[in-house]
Symmetry: C2
Subunit: 199 residues, 2 copies
């Protein structure tokens, strides 16, 4: 009965090739230029085949965002593991986040930014991000060791993430001449964020 399994395997291959082709197109031409027909041409199948694997174009984008979040999370986990103190952990993760965004601009733009995914889609996604859990721990440690142990860690988490996201998204839309400045801003922010919890 290896037939069914071979078919299954083939089906998954096609599905994977759709995602791969889609990703290639997004990287090469930007997500705006992504089209079902181009994907079909790339995988050497006709258009309707794609709809046997994905309900619609948005589902493909959603899958790519999931890939992006997985990759981001991997990077964050590694950064955290490689760091020692809570401060260093936070700093390392901030840099990892920053690095991911700029080494994978296409991913980041699909993950946030573009208005394409509907609201429900975004909510599904945000659950995927383990960023919260990863960074909440060192934040709590820092607060506990500081002089204001009543500080709300969720508040700080939210501040941290917002700042990081804002810095990245502002940097992504155009101003490529100010990268050094933003490096400084990132450093400045991390420093003041950390010291703000100690005090």
């Amino acid at each position: 009965m290896g037939i069914a399994e071979r078919k299954q395997r083939h089906k998954e291959e096609v599905r994977a090739s759709i995602l791969e082709a889609a990703w290639q197109l997004v990287v090469q031409e930007g997500w705006q230029a992504l089209s079902i027909r181009k994907i079909a041409e790339a995988i050497e199948y006709s258009v309707p085949v794609i709809y046997d694997h994905f309900a619609n174009k948005e589902a493909i984008l959603l899958e790519l965002t999931k890939q992006g979040f997985r990759k981001l999370n991997d990077g964050l986990i590694k950064a955290k593991e490689g760091a020692g103190s809570p401060e260093q952990q936070i700093e390392a993760m901030a840099y990892a986040y920053w690095k991911f965004a700029f080494e994978n601009k296409a991913y980041y733009q699909v993950m946030y930014g573009l208005g394409i995914p509907s609201c429900e889609t975004v909510n599904q996604i945000s659950e995927l991000s383990t960023f919260s859990e990863l960074i909440l721990e060192p934040i709590k440690e820092l607060i506990a060791a500081g002089k204001s142990p009543k500080t709300d860690p969720f508040l700080k988490l939210h501040t941290f993430w917002s700042m990081l996201h804002g810095l990245i998204s502002i940097n992504m839309m155009g101003n490529e001449d100010k990268e050094e400045l933003n490096q400084l801003v990132l450093q400045d922010f991390i420093k003041s964020f950390v010291s703000g919890m100690k005090a």
Copy 2:
């Protein structure tokens, strides 16, 4: 020779009606649903007439973003004028910025967010924002009055804006149940931002 002027006036009326119809559609159905044909129908003209007034769809969006920036700047100026000390000015402008974003979600999404305008377009836009000039002054005052007068005001400006933008854009994509939290984050941030410059 009032004929030419009457014609001119009429042309401007049509142009204005295009922008108004476009704006209506963006507000009602979101910017994704905006189409040239819908605009044409709304203004009761045929499609090509629109191209007598705008080079392409993007030019219409660009004009809307300009309107948005004008409105935002007006709000910021008023907020600044109504405030006293540098701290209060910064706080008032942050709230004005926040308020604008959520009372004019469509504007804010066209101004930032959506990947539609090309990079050149965005660069044209960012010059329009007088946010920098407005907020730089109280930042400088605050730094001068503080204990670290060597602090780079541009750095602080950048930090401030990034944070604000990040907070808003994260809040805009979905999580409408956490508005109170984000209000707190905004307060928390402003506080730590201001005190960070005094120290």
